[in-house]
Amino acid sequence: MKFEAFSLGNTEVSIAIIYCAKIVVHLHPAPSNKEPGPYQTSKYSYIKLSFKEHGQIEFSRRLSEEMTQKRWERMPVSPPINSSTTSQAGRTRAVGIVGIERKLEEKRKEMDKNISEAFEDLSKLMEKAKEMVELSRSIASKIKDKQGDITEDETIRFKSYLLSMGIANPVTRETHGSGTHYHMQLAKQLGEIMLAPLEEQGGMMALTEVYCLVNRARGMELLSPEDLVNACKMFEALKLPLRLRIFDSGVMVIQLQSHSEEEIIASAVDNVSEKGSLTSEEFAKLLGLSVLLSKERLLLAEKMGHLCRDDSVEGLRFYPNLF
């Protein structure tokens, strides 16, 4: 479409937030020798450009410049993509824009083809995965109804199949927790690599911190959150010196078994008595621990009756329990 700006109407309303700046570009009617383009005809004789977040002044300036210079009429002939449809010498002007349009269109089609092929293949894959899910459900119901004696080994095998497919485990026989050999291995690994960091952190670390630590160290083949939790659940069964612990608040931590409950509470009470009173933030600074875990220790000591609280908008403060 050939256009020449007939008038540039600049409507700017800057007071009301709803309205945004607009530039209206009025178009000449299309000439009879118009070349093919994105649209052959249109019922509108103008284009409205809407500027939601500024830019209209700069744009209008550049548009006026281009309209004056008419650089597109001076552009060299670029080789047309589809040579079969071009023969006229007078194509110099439109090739630029139309050529770009064509290239974009082809790229889009190519991308669409890739994606739709991917989706097709994906659907087929899902069909097969669905069969696996149905089979696993059938096996699970048989196990539940005790139709057939599945040995413990076979149960573990079944669980690992479910793990591979990402199917939730419907069989809740807690022989080794919800874990598999994979989780047992993980638990043992954790038992080794977590000892030093735990010592440093006063014997306790939030599970989210452990997750970050372990995955950052791995770099690839990362653990899922569920992998970590399932591995931690096996500490006790495997007689490893770590324990998974869930506080009343829902916070999950890994704790060194050597750090006994009594020690933690006693040291918390000592610290509070020494300072008269402590908030979680102050306690955290004192111990060099996270605020979250410091709070849990104070809460624990409170639960056991050694501390009492003063809860105000200024914060939660703990005092030795003199009652």
């Binding site: 293949d121 899902m126 995965a129 059938s138 990402g166 994979y182």
Partner: protein, 258 residues
């Protein structure tokens, strides 16, 4: 004439039939397990083939990831359940989301002292993108939400709260009930609320209003501006937009104070 189905003979026959069925039952379950093992191998091959053709698609296209996840959910499969799962190993979906989980945790931890553990999805998105660097793969908000849903497995109160047209991401185990949530939603427009606004919009009594606001203050989710003209304003740092807030280092902060 023989009467069928009665007498000692019939009982014995029945017992024999039952035993045979039981035996069959045993065979069936074990059979199925063996069948599953074989089918698993076949499936693995199909998945490998799919991965060789389309693994890139998953990494590049957020739209494809959404489609993929939705299809998995429909058939009852969780591709992110375990790093040891086929999906994770062969398509690399696992590493993508688990790493994102790490980045989300780190951002939330870094900002917790300021916003009490509550952050808008937008801000989280921006900061995660920034942390990933220019050359890393793009992540969408949908990706973030899925990663956060997985983080819930580790306790620690990761949650998603709808407010206005977007979401707030909670990363501390603060107990936020309906009252808290609705006040957060009210505050979303301006970043703060006042007692009278709450009372007039939600038709609450003063006591209920103050109780909820006190809770938010205690959790560090709200800051009190007692110097505001009119009545005190309760600001939510989580809702501070780029307009209001600036990242300032401790050195810069001490320079700013006269």
């Amino acid at each position: 004439m023989h009467r069928r189905g009665v007498g000692a003979g019939a009982i014995a026959k029945k017992k024999l039939a039952e035993a045979k069925y039981k035996e069959r039952g045993t065979v069936l379950a074990e059979d199925q397990l063996a069948q599953m093992s074989k089918q698993l191998e076949t499936f693995k091959t199909h998945l490998e083939e799919f991965a060789s053709k389309h693994k890139q698609e998953i990494r590049k296209s957020a739209q494809f990831r959404v489609q993929f996840q939705d299809m998995c959910a429909t058939i009852g499969v969780d591709p992110l359940a375990s790093g040891k799962g086929f999906w994770s190993e062969m398509l690399g979906v696992g590493d993508f989301y688990y790493e994102l989980g790490v980045q989300i945790i780190e951002v939330c931890l870094a900002l917790k002292h300021r916003n009490g553990g509550l952050i808008t999805l937008e801000e989280l998105h921006q900061r995660v993108l920034k942390g990933r660097g220019k050359f890393a793969q793009d992540v969408s908000q949908d990706d973030l939400i899925r990663a956060i849903k997985k983080l819930k497995a580790m306790g620690n109160g990761f949650g998603i709260i709808p407010v206005g047209g977007t979401y707030l991401v909670q990363s501390v185990p603060a107990e936020l009930n309906m009252d808290h949530t609705v006040v957060l939603q009210l505050a979303e427009k301006k970043g703060f609320v006042t007692v009278s606004e709450i009372k007039s919009s939600l038709k609450w009594e003063t006591e209920r209003t103050c109780h909820v606001l006190d809770d938010l203050l205690k959790e560090g989710l709200a800051w009190l501006d007692g110097q505001a003209a009119g009545e005190p304003q309760y600001w939510l740092p989580a809702l501070f937009s780029e307009l209001y807030s600036q990242d300032v280092t401790p050195e810069e902060a001490s320079e700013m104070v006269p």
